[in-house]
Point group: C2
Chain length 149, copies 2
């Protein structure tokens, strides 16, 4: 798959770069890379699908270590919508997560909101809120009243 | 309960004002008041607990009309955390939702992320992402590793 190389975490230049690295870190189960992408704030927050609110860098790190103890996460963001101001970027998307079950490969869909802020070190993640999608189609509702894919 | 009066929707002066009015509108099942609090953007997004991503003003309005067809929502935000820049504010919280079931009054907890942007008309809601909490305690994980309430 053609994909531009990710810049080093020390010189991110856009929310998209941070997001690219975030999902790479999930696919690589790379906890240090993943945590380097978050803002240096006590108030960072993460909600995993079906889980509680996780607050602060130590608790966020522990939550991802727990996930990675089961292996990497085969996840791809899709249908990303972006709302960007000078210092803040909000991305929402559908995450397609592939897993291997007893019944074979399965695909699950997760609805996610990622919030990034511009810091002295560059753009960093502030909030990752993910919740289970309603079905396997990844469908969503748009303004025309129709299901979108 | 002592609560400062909400300013009219035409002159909001902080994300907290918009948030106050958002939850008032839910408790009042007031669809016009509720929709007046959103940014005038095609990209506004809303995720109701367990639901799909809803995109755009018409679809967001329809989703709340569907909810209000069952009556008002007895909801109170709790444990609100705020991250504010000049033009963007991110609030995350636990929503306590009271409902009346056959077994009597029940309380459910919802984890929510609300994003606000500063517009020429004042602060407006950009994203409301709500997902089911894990249990009835409203517990969450903090940096000390302990459950918070």
């Amino acid at each position: 798959m053609a994909r531009r190389p990710a810049p080093p975490p020390s010189s991110p230049d856009s929310p998209d770069d941070i997001e690219l690295q975030f999902y790479e870190a999930l696919r690589q189960a790379d906890i240090d890379k993943l945590m380097s992408l978050w803002a240096d704030e006590d108030e960072i927050a993460c909600v995993h699908p079906g889980g509680p609110r996780v607050l602060g860098p130590q608790a966020v790190r522990a939550s991802f270590e727990s996930i990675f103890s089961h292996g990497a996460v085969d996840v791809q963001p899709e249908a990303v919508r972006r709302l960007v101001t000078h210092a803040c970027a909000v991305h929402h998307m559908v995450e397609r997560v592939q897993g291997l079950t007893r019944e074979g490969p399965q695909t699950a869909y997760v609805v996610a909101t990622n919030v990034y802020v511009r810091t002295p070190l560059g753009w960093r993640m502030l909030v990752h809120h993910a919740s289970p999608g309603t079905d396997e189609s990844g469908a969503e509702l748009g303004d025309n009243g129709a299901l979108l894919h």
